[in-house]
């Protein structure tokens, strides 16, 4: 059953990809301008760039930035979010800051961050990190708050102290919400990554897109855009897979 379901999902995704490629092809034929090459030109270039190794360092650079930001931000946000969701005292300390800072467009602080942290990776990782952090903090806190008191009581009655309640009740109960906020914030993070890489960088897919643009090498530009899109899709899939493994109990019915 499940295998068939996954196969069906893959087939539908492949069909959607085919439709998108077809529309792209038609658009490129209709426009007939050099800045919209057809998918065969872009994909051909992508394959050759990957084959000769010239695109790989850029993919690796982007991946490194996202993964680093994720590794630092996600555990911190989870810990602080869950803790403040369960402790009114901590929450009254944290929530005013969240309330004021969360709606701010973090990307607008890119220049400030670069002035403070320099033009290197640290600034980019920091920017992506605070986006992931803010999103996961808020949803972790809300999810932890929503854990039914009766569920906590029942586990406390088994002898669980604060820490065990976190580990066996609050964390697993909040995991679905944490993962879906991760999915959303990764999408935002990749958009911001493009912007951050597009100036003051010599590596990354964002830089590559802007560089090929200035070189007027449009097939190269589209090759990198496709690479960045696939990169985003891969992040999405990775979260999906993490969810399928970590929240297996939810697919029972």
């Amino acid at each position: 059953m499940r295998v068939e379901g996954n196969l069906g999902k893959a087939l539908r995704a492949a069909a959607a990809a085919a439709v998108i490629l077809l529309l792209w092809e038609l658009a490129s034929l209709a426009v007939a301008r050099s800045f919209l090459p057809g998918p065969e030109a872009a994909l051909g270039r992508l394959v050759s760039r990957i084959a000769n190794g010239s695109l790989l360092p850029h993919i690796a650079a982007s991946l490194r930035r996202v993964v680093l930001a994720l590794l630092v931000a996600a555990p911190l946000a989870t810990a602080l979010g869950l803790a403040s969701g369960r402790s009114p005292a901590l929450d009254s300390l944290v929530s005013p800051f969240v309330y004021l800072l969360h709606p701010l467009p973090k990307v607008a602080f890119l220049p400030v961050i670069m002035l403070f942290l320099g033009l290197g990776d640290v600034a980019k990782v920091f920017l992506i990190g605070i986006i992931i952090f803010g999103q996961m903090l808020v949803s972790g806190r809300d999810a932890a708050r929503a854990v039914p008191r009766a569920l906590v009581d029942s586990v406390r009655s088994l002898g669980a102290r604060r820490w065990a309640v976190m580990r066996h009740v609050v964390l697993p109960a909040s995991l679905p919400a944490l993962l879906s906020s991760l999915r959303v914030s990764l999408g935002t993070a990749i958009a911001v990554l493009f912007l951050a890489e597009s100036f003051a960088a010599e590596s990354g897919l964002g830089w590559y897109i802007v560089d090929s643009w200035t070189r007027v090498d449009y097939p190269d530009m589209y090759a990198a855009i496709v690479a960045l899109s696939v990169f985003g899709l891969a992040c999405y899939l990775a979260v999906d897979m993490a969810e399928a493994v970590l929240c297996r109990w939810r697919n029972t019915d």
């Binding site: 029942s154 009655s157 066996h168 109990w249």
Partner: protein
């Protein structure tokens, strides 16, 4: 043996003190089954939570084996109506949880839980998540988890009230079997007059509201009936349920302070 010594429980709500139960005196002899029955809001859950060490009485004492209860106790197991089981743990992992929390190593946990699951007819479902079990099996699992810790006191708060009649009766039988085998002291909160009369050696009827109090105490005529199943069909059972129904309708005995709160016999399931 468990003794309540003028126990009162109250909650703080927006700075105000809301009394839930007041001045409860009761004794629960070792190995007995006591049923607590009373209208909604009379503080049955609060009392169970105080006995479980989940809330602290604002006055009075809970004495277990002569010692004053100061918090959660390992040998006390609690079964709730819902929410007792963790949906993200398999049946086996749920049943193992109290042992895991007690620091028992995996092999010992496995073997002990294996036999408890066996006892409750759940061996085949050890790897199932609670979401895939029927309501009856879920409560059976809750009983299994409670037994895994080898408790001497089992507190149950409306454990079977969301089950259909037949499942409920089969769980009542299961509970009596478990009780006969392990001799655990059981305190059971229920809304069902029949369930209270069928399971309880002694019955506590509560009444009133904010605070609730003990309205009356009854006990089942014991010994003269051969089997428990036949007790359900006997005249003694009928007169006991009638007596219970009347006690519930009468409400708190000395209830001068409760003009409006006459609890009706209402939901006699």
């Amino acid at each position: 043996m468990v003794r309540l010594d003028s126990v009162s429980v109250s909650y703080r709500m927006r700075g105000q003190c809301v009394p839930a139960v007041e001045d409860i005196d009761a004794e629960f002899p070792a190995g007995s089954i006591t049923a607590i029955i009373g209208p909604s809001g009379c503080g049955k859950t609060s009392l169970i939570q105080a006995m479980a060490g989940l809330v602290h009485p604002c006055s009075g004492r809970v004495l277990i084996e002569g010692e004053q209860l100061a918090g959660v106790r390992r040998k006390t197991a609690v079964i709730f109506q819902d929410y007792g089981l963790l949906p993200w743990k398999t049946a086996r992992a749920n049943a193992e949880l109290p042992l895991l929390l007690a620091g028992m190593d995996q092999r010992d946990r496995r073997s002990r839980v294996e036999s408890v699951l066996e006892e409750l007819g759940l061996s085949a479902f050890a790897r199932f998540y609670p979401g895939r079990l029927s309501g009856g099996m879920r409560q059976r699992l809750a009983v299994a988890r409670a037994l895994a810790a080898e408790p001497d006191l089992l507190l149950m708060d409306e454990p079977f009230s969301s089950l259909d009649a037949l499942t409920r009766e089969s769980l009542q039988e299961t509970l009596l079997e478990v009780h006969a085998r392990h001799g655990t002291t059981i305190v059971l909160v229920t809304h069902s007059i029949e369930e209270a009369a069928y399971l309880g050696d002694s019955l506590i009827v509560m009444g009133g509201r904010n605070p609730g109090r003990i309205a009356s105490r009854l006990s089942r005529p014991r010994g003269q009936v051969g089997g428990l199943v036949s007790f359900r069909a006997s005249g003694d059972f009928l007169s006991l349920t009638t007596e219970l129904r009347r006690a519930l309708a009468d409400g708190p005995s000395g209830g001068l302070s409760h003009g409006s709160g006459t609890p009706g016999p209402g939901g006699a399931a």
